[in-house]
Symmetry: C2
Subunit: 238 residues, 2 copies
Amino acid sequence: MPFTYEYPRPAITVDCVIFGLDKEQVLKVLLIRRAAEPFAGRWAFPGGFVQMDEGLEAAALRELEEETGIRDVFIEQLFTFGQPARDPRGRVVSVAYYALVNLDQHPVKAATDAEDVGWFGIDQLPQLAFDHQEIFETAIARLRAKVRYQPIGFELLPEKFTLSQLQKLYEIVLGVRQLNKRNFRKRILKMDVLNEVGKQSGVAHRPATLYSFDKERYQLHFKNRHKDLLKRGVDFEI
Amino acid sequence: MPFTYEYPRPAITVDCVIFGLDKEQVLKVLLIRRAAEPFAGRWAFPGGFVQMDEGLEAAALRELEEETGIRDVFIEQLFTFGQPARDPRGRVVSVAYYALVNLDQHPVKAATDAEDVGWFGIDQLPQLAFDHQEIFETAIARLRAKVRYQPIGFELLPEKFTLSQLQKLYEIVLGVRQLNKRNFRKRILKMDVLNEVGKQSGVAHRPATLYSFDKERYQLHFKNRHKDLLKRGVDFEI
DNA sequence: TCAAAAGTGTTATCATTACACCCATGG
DNA sequence: CCATGGGTGTAATGATAACACTTTTGA
């Protein structure tokens, strides 16, 4: 059943860059191995064609679940890639999304004969299909920029976490050696968005306090702080 | 000459939200009046269909020049709008771009019988076609967020400007009463990105120093500052 | 009692805020 | 000589960076 138009049209796809942190605190992204041409056998971000009756974000979530089994995540639009030559099949414009998930709470479906799914450390990515390397670089840059001024990092951690885990997460995401422990703690605790929720146990050293992120308190502070920022006016990153 | 595909495809358009500041320091956006249906007679952002052999940004720049005469601007991708019902002609996905221009340095072509072009103060927008009100709100929110940490505001001002003009610009863009003059000046000058380039004349009060923005110096500072920010790690806006 | 990681005290320095005040010009 | 906007001094307060130190646990 062919579809005919007066003018030529690009195809539209969506792609999803899903970041996760594993138990060893390695930052990873989720890839699938392509079964079909072009780039059969190569790894790529999950994604596919947008259907005529669904929104872009809905398409991204549908493809993500179909291809990886992951659902119930908050995705955010990243960028739209539309260079004429980015897909050998012809003109394809792709709207990319990204998300942060807790690796343990979002199990990936088992690989089948038809499909292969896997988490890859961001420093050990295989060669990617299409322009997906560029999409990845856009995503990691966005993550690094965003993690500075919004507490999105908490979505990568388990429900309860220690300040050391949080610090390590920041060091990983930002790609930085070692933040000063004392100052990191003062900074985080001063924000007043963490609740103490217990103590570590079974470790061969002083057990750490466990914290959880208080999203409501964060949003409350955010509103008030926003007013203060308006008085101040400007604060270039220079 | 019809074009036929195996599966249905949305059409792809681009739209441009162009901000400018007029002589009375009013923040405006550029609109065109639609000649054709749908929404004939309504105002809308300049834009149109992407051609098969051009990139998205190129399409946006082409449409902008064709419809308004404005050229040589730096546009930046804003967001891609793709709700199934956003265009009554059928499924149309639109990639929106935005830019800041100096109103005097970018004259708009004269309105013709076929086309009507105009600048509208952001507080006096007419009813817009399609979902362009939503596109506008996304754009102004982005402008307000971005103006805080990147010196994009300078592109709205003339080459040489006074600190009072700059302060007024920030008050306008941020939609804020009155920033403290002393502190605004200290802040801006401490950044070390402005060059003194003369004095005002012909005003009935003490003439103000004129400044210009030193883009290279800014980029230099930016690189170094980036390293410092990495040491610091985190600074949520709360 | 030791290793390992958690967690704290403190100080010098810098940034921010909030006011009040002086300066140069044309009318 | 005054209205108008341009431009400065300063002091209290708070944030930041840097470093050394103490605490608690299991093995």
